[in-house]
Symmetry: D2
Subunit: 341 residues, 4 copies
């Protein structure tokens, strides 16, 4: 089958990994173009990745002959703009999450995308493509745990990222938009229902600088769904063990747990510290394969002319709930999701 | 050392186990009397346990010469009355939890107990005496996980108890008073703070009969503490794996998990169902040793003239928070604990 | 039921624990006498345990009026003599393992015991009374793993005991007699067959002093049974994680693993060392409950006039195989067990 | 970098997987040719894999212009011949294990390969390329467990393969050559020493047909190494839990365990069967990534002009020890490895 000609915008840490997957691990992709506002990133693209067409300006890249699809791995506040421009240029587009931390922006992107029904527009909730999460979803769909009614899910970074996150938090939309969108998406996916109301609490338990920035280093959101189901979602920045991200689904006939502890590999040590397993450092270490699979799936959808399972509506809903959590956290009250939309 | 002459009121399933511990496994106890309104229970006490003095009337038992302490293992709605009478009869008294599901009753018992400062009055939050919980508390106190700021704790019975619980729920005070008082007590113990406000949600996800009785088969309470710390407490009646009760404590330097899965023993099976461990059936199977240790400790406190770590104030606080959870569940709103007291 | 009047010989570390079980935790026992050649041990018996009758001379203790049973917890090289004397004095006798490291001595004790068919004589292979081992045996007997054909079992002490063991090894009969007798007994128990030939290898991998004493710090014995089944038994003195003792049974329909890792309790830590569980320090920490149960069972057998499951023949067979292992280790050849008997 | 033009011989189940890796997942490979004696396999290569050049005759494929390297995934008894022919045709060659079950043949291949020092000749002991095994090796090399002195390693297939293996065993060289070569290679790798003598026992415990074919369904080999270290290696065909393959390395300062249980993924189930994890079905499920990595590494060695870590000498040593095990199993005696060479 013909390879798909792909461009990428954003070659920060995550963008570089996407680019390497597209070049080295996904035969259906031909990464012909990259765009970045950073000279260092473009230099890396030229010398290390040998990408033929490089751009400082996103609009210029979109005019490149033959380009078929764009991966938007730029900073969060640019996602919506880049998606819209790519669609308007006649391209398929894949964007890193979140779509936007503005509910209004999400809706605008959705409306524009509706005008280009033959072009794919996907926001990458990668965990749905992690083999363990997929397996769990299949088990749930097969009825292995009966009817699911409770999801516990958390996204907790290793402590070592805190210092960097304190700088980054200003542009990230805050911990609910940046971290918990994943957990919100998973809860919706597993429960097959929409969040109705939330109560979010938390604080800067270890690093007061997060409080000064209007954010937190650990938050917990309780969600009530429109079918009566429940979720409790945690996000944090202070785990010592590693990237401590997992999900549990409780149903009437059983419980599924995915990924706790987030061990690096299959090695156990028996030494003076006890019987132990070491854990992954970062979300990339944990979800490396999921990032590969989601990009493969996006390209396969283009090739096969099928719709991806993830829609912009999923991305919009995650943003709405994240916004409800943010407001609840700020006000100290239950927030009805209906008020946010 | 002299044995302590002990009486017991209530010889239901749990009362029988207390009696057997006092007879066979606690050398410092001399169980000389038992009281029950059930002929079958008294017959068991006479023929199986060979307890010398048997009573249908609690007041009569209290007049028994030489009696020094009473174990109140009667039905929940009798605890407060039996504690007060035992105190007024000059005896030390140990009561099963909860003290009462009425906050008012808790306070009355506390006030009366204050008039008998030389007599012990203890409500049995047994989990504090489970070896794993004690070990975890010691670790926390030593600073192993830094400052704790989040507790997750749950009390979930095996599905097989549901049918019986449907009958029992009318007299139990409901799932928050009957199940979550343990988790409330543990959260207070580990966090060293008091609950300020709660939001409780849940439903009868598997057995609608619980909803008809004004109760639920799974509930989840989010708690905000007066020092900013958090807890999320679950209670349920539908676990298939066994009695699925555990606690997790998250601190600034690490996390402790106690007792999940609640394996029966140290045996693992590798067979067509996978690599697996079987789990305990009931709370007794899980906390058998804790029930022994707490009774031993109560008697040791009497012998050594020291105060037990658990006070009636602990029991009262647990009831207050359970009552706040109950009201929140009924109203669908956040309830401030201050409103309950 | 009447308490059984019991004496004990040997109040070293293990003897003290037996005595405490008999006094504080086994209501059917009345520990009226103790014997030791150590002044310190007798002083402990008088002041801490308040045992009424104390003896320096074992023969004198045996003449004590009313004595019904003796626990032999003396040094290994005294077990056989003490058992015989107790039997000749008309008493029931329980002895710590091994019966003797001399096959000849084992047979002599058996022959003498046969003359006293109304008196019990038991050697304490405690692991058979550990709740997890009992559960596993029941599973095997129920056919849960089909026909068992392979046992892996090991007894490995924490490194911290090595220094002390170097002194002790001269009197212990060596690592096969001292450590592996347990594993040999378990392999016979689970496989229901007798060892036919063995090959034992090993060395002093960490502490050369064991080699100088003609012993080892890690040995491994491969056993072929008379029904074709297999076992591999390890013993060691250098584990860092704790007392690393476990058993695995492989059958035609599944595998059972008992007790690895040998965790202290149900607490897990998530910290900079990974997701981990701490392990027991000593065999006592691991098998404390088994030591209690085996003593209870011995006394119950006396009271109920039934034979214990463990016979002197079991003890003799364990010694025979341990001796075959010792010879194989020394000669570097396969040794047929038939040559040892 | 230029892609390497590759051919493959053998497109059975494993050959198909190698081919797919070379086509879809390894950008440095250009799979231009395939050879098979099976019409069905060639048809698959044409229609499913679209490999341009297809051959029934291996010699013809070797004459294909531009071919640079050959993957030998033919039946075990053809490996040696195919390796030699590929070398003589001037090609680099990678072969599935074992090199041969004949020690003589191994030595002949080694001698011939020595005449082509500029061409790579590698036998694929894939486990060395499994991420967990690599991590463990690195830990050992860093001294994390001190000096390793004991390896336990096993290769046990799921029961479901037994029926097929009964047919296949006649051509496989037997269970030691077919299964345990992996474990032998790993033991040599981790211990850094050579096997000096072995004792192998076992039987057809579940499927008598293996005994009739002169083979077994579970075997266990005890190995003594020339530096005094030990290994115990198991191989079997009857596991119910899945492909139950793992390795443990014991050193003076700690123990490493790799891959037990061999879980499918990170999902745990809590249901009526207990707290459990499902396990992989086949060695491919377990070592899929290792098969990818070893092929990548072979091609990278060609591109970078470096020698692979695995040598034909490693393959020859594995065959020698497997042969010693086979003889020991047949004779019922210890076999010195020196006698085999």
């Amino acid at each position: 089958m013909e390879k798909i000609k792909v461009g990428i915008v954003g070659l920060g840490r995550l963008g570089k990994e996407y680019a390497k997957n597209l070049i080295y691990r996904i035969p259906s992709a031909d990464l012909i173009a990259a765009c970045s506002i950073s000279g260092e990133e473009l230099e890396f693209a030229r010398t290390e990745l040998e990408i033929p067409h490089l751009f400082e300006d996103f609009d210029e890249m979109l005019q490149l002959q033959d380009l078929e699809a764009v991966f938007v791995i730029s900073s969060t506040n640019k996602h919506a703009e880049h998606i819209v421009k790519a669609l308007e240029a006649g391209l398929h587009v894949y964007s890193e999450k979140p779509l936007s931390s503005s509910v209004e922006a999400c809706k605008q992107v959705e409306a524009i995308a509706a005008q280009y029904p033959d072009q794919l527009a996907v926001v990458g909730f990668v965990r749905r493509f992690d083999p363990s999460y997929r397996y769990a979803k299949q088990k749930v769909d097969e009825g292995a745990i009966g009817k699911p009614y409770l999801v516990r899910s958390q996204t907790i970074d290793k402590d070592t990222v805190a210092e960097w996150q304190i700088q980054y938090v200003k542009n990230s939309g805050g911990i609910f938009h940046d971290y918990n969108v994943h957990d919100i998406d998973l809860a919706r996916w597993f429960l097959g229902a929409e969040v109705e109301s939330v109560w979010s609490i938390g604080g800067a338990y270890k690093y007061p600088a997060f409080a000064e920035a209007g954010d937190a280093d650990h938050v917990m959101s309780t969600c009530r769904f429109d079918n009566g189901a429940m979720a409790v979602l945690n996000a944090g920045r202070t785990a010592m063990v590693g990237h401590d991200t997992y999900t549990e689904i409780v149903g009437t006939l059983g419980t599924l747990r995915i990924g706790r502890p987030a061990t690096i590999n299959r090695v156990e040590l028996y030494d003076q510290h006890g019987a132990r397993q070491e854990c992954v450092e970062t979300f990339w270490d944990r979800f490396e394969e999921a990032f590969l699979r989601i990009a493969e799936d996006f390209l396969a959808c283009i090739q096969e002319g099928r719709q991806p399972a993830l829609s912009l509506a999923d991305a919009r809903q995650a943003t709405i709930v994240a916004e409800a959590c943010t407001r609840s956290f700020q006000k100290g009250e239950i927030v009805k999701v209906g008020e946010v939309t």
